[in-house]
Symmetry: none
Subunit: 407 residues, 2 copies
């Protein structure tokens, strides 16, 4: 993994400095259109976020590029300073992270679909009748009993007929075709390396086939889910860490597996949270405040309610976050930065391409004339508009963590 030109610059200038609290309100940005005359951020009473803007500056950030709607992976990679078009995390790895795996370098991840095959080994249902998630959990326990020599095998249930598997060991490769033929009426394909010269993947394909064979044995008495199909093989290569790139001891305070996983990709420590509330996240921040330089705090529910089109609940989460701002400010970090990985407008019930409201607060911030934290104020804010990729360096700069460039 190459650093971007900008990251190399930051790395060359990084020094010790003040602490940074990087608060990511997932899917925060929204639209006042159609039935909505205000955005949730405009509607919400946010006196504390407004104070951060009044004594700081705001602007709009484009997570990936103008007009591009980011998935969670690219959205966060940008916030962590990576170019999200150049640094692509494979779908298999993202799904493994989302399923709660903490991956290690060299791990090979793949999706599993439970399927039904007939007595001739021909697939009759690629989703095993869409079994329930409870069924999936029971079947995953069966798969977890499988041992294959030379490799550690970790299986987790995802949802309904879907699960994830991780193969862990030395000398594995992830260039392996899907065993799922994508249609019924055919037999599952054997796992085969896509590259005849790639010994690691050839070796791994052999291990995968042993796993599939044993899976057929342990599932043989199942009425529906008597086989597995595998697709989306992917090898895990860790990203350069926050410590080596930005010289910051970094920690993530995130409830959901996907975001914990994305943070762990960059070497952040994953801090324990006593519960799932915003307040519990800030308890964790207080508890570990002395131990790190950089805290990534992830708020999931702004996005979840945007995806549900639940305007009032999104307003409520924003107000809930607002109430903890004084607790963050009381710790006196050099920089508080509040942003999002993308917009999730209630009217669209999905991620969108609209740039995200962003604020920065700290002693070295050039204070602009905006007084509130809203999409409109951010359009006029002193930060202007920029790619989200710029934010990590801006936060470091305002925390005194970047040397002068050149003499």
């Amino acid at each position: 993994m190459e650093l971007s030109k900008r990251q190399k610059l930051l790395k060359s200038l990084a020094q010790e400095g003040g602490k940074i609290v990087y608060l990511v309100m997932d899917g925060l940005g929204d639209l006042a259109t159609g039935k909505y005359s205000e955005t949730p951020l405009e509607k919400a009473k946010t006196p504390n976020l407004d104070n951060l803007v009044a004594a700081g500056a705001c602007g709009l950030c484009h997570p990936v590029d103008y007009g591009i709607t980011p998935g969670s992976g690219p959205g966060h990679l940008g916030l962590f300073g990576f170019n999200p078009v150049d640094v692509v995390i494979g779908r298999g790895i993202l799904e493994a992270l989302g399923a709660g795996f903490l991956l290690k370098k060299g791990d090979i991840a793949s999706r599993i679909n439970f399927a039904t095959i007939n007595k001739d080994g021909v697939i009759t249902d690629r989703r095993a009748g869409r079994i329930s998630t409870e069924e999936c959990i029971r079947l995953v326990e069966k798969l977890s009993s499988i041992k294959v020599e030379g490799v550690e095998i970790l299986v987790k249930a995802v949802k309904e007929h879907r699960a994830m598997v991780v193969f862990r060991g030395e000398g594995l490769g992830g260039s392996i075709i899907d065993t799922d033929p994508q249609v019924t009426g055919k037999k599952p394909l054997p796992a085969v390396s896509t590259d005849e010269t790639d010994k690691a993947s050839i070796h791994t394909a052999g291990l995968v086939n042993k796993f599939i064979g044993k899976a057929s044995e342990v599932l043989s008495d199942e009425p529906k889910a008597n086989a597995i199909l595998m697709r989306g093989f992917d090898a895990y290569h860790p990203l350069p860490t926050f410590m080596e790139t930005y010289k910051m001891r970094s920690a993530a305070i995130a409830v959901y597996p996907m975001y914990r996983g994305l943070a762990s990709l960059t070497g952040m420590e994953l801090l324990e949270i006593a519960g799932e509330t915003v307040s519990a996240e800030i308890d964790t921040l207080q508890k570990h405040y002395e131990d790190y330089d950089f805290f990534f705090i992830h708020i999931k529910k702004t996005d979840s309610y945007g995806e549900d089109g639940n305007f009032d609940a999104k307003v409520h989460v924003i107000e809930e976050v607002d109430t903890v701002i004084p607790r963050i400010a009381a710790l006196k970090p050099a920089v508080i930065l509040v942003t999002a990985d993308h917009s999730t407008p209630c009217i669209m019930e999905s991620h969108s391409f609209h740039p995200v409201p962003t604020l920065i607060n700290g002693k070295l911030v050039r204070v602009d004339d905006q007084k509130v934290f809203t999409e409109k104020a951010c359009e006029h804010g002193g930060m202007g508009q920029m790619p989200s990729e710029m934010l990590i360096g801006l936060a470091m700069a305002h925390a005194g963590r970047l040397l002068k460039f050149g003499a």
Copy 2:
């Protein structure tokens, strides 16, 4: 022709979606300075364009880069999503397009200057006494009678002593030196390939020399224009099309040959217009509205009057365009985008580097708080400032034509 990194991203995400009307008011941007206290766009009464802003957003676009004054080629390449510094259309090709040639892949274009030579073959006037355009047209008819075996030769008059020629056939090359020695008192140079290993260009240079020889014969009785000089040889390579890059059935509604030519470079269909008025252009839009996803409508006269320094006429054209906006809006495209290929300030009587006023209107636009379409409003608009290269993707995003990037 390589796509830019951004175009590759757009291509990978492009899907079906709503219709886009892309209205380019050539040279629209202007300056309120010197004898002008307002720009033409500020002076013009534009209630309908203002409505588009009031229910949409506006901003400023830099066609090529900060401080760079674009020619028509780069200005439009940016609007079409190409990086106008990386993708250079040769001057010969642009002039051929401007002269009204519809080029085919592999065509070789060159400028022709009519010149005067004495009895020893020495050039005495490189512009043949700046003959009239009528004279030029008469002489081009003579050149059009020339046949050279193995190649089709197409000649068009341009202006005064200037004409264009296109050589069409298999296996031609455009790496050929100018035959114009750039000074009087010398003989014209023979056409020679710039590359000894380039068989296509060597072959073509031979054909060009035959053409020049026959031109000398048919012009031998002319008192002034008894020879031709050739310069700016250029081979035509089509750009990737809108369909293959953006997955849009695209059409151009443009009166002037240069802009029809630029559109045809990207594979747009060239629609017929009954007349040259703005209203006639919108008649064409209405007639073909069902048949395409993307319409490039080009308004020439904003630029022409800017070049003439004719402030009042530029105001009048802007007002004329304003009157057709309701006809465009009545078609209910997903996105109406109004912009320009560059500024042409009346006070400068030329293209300029000033960023161009731009508006976007559509259901998914995050409405900003600007209410009118002027340079000043655009400085404060929600779109911010961006390279014009971004616009095509923004239009696609707002028309629902881009998938999410990454999981």
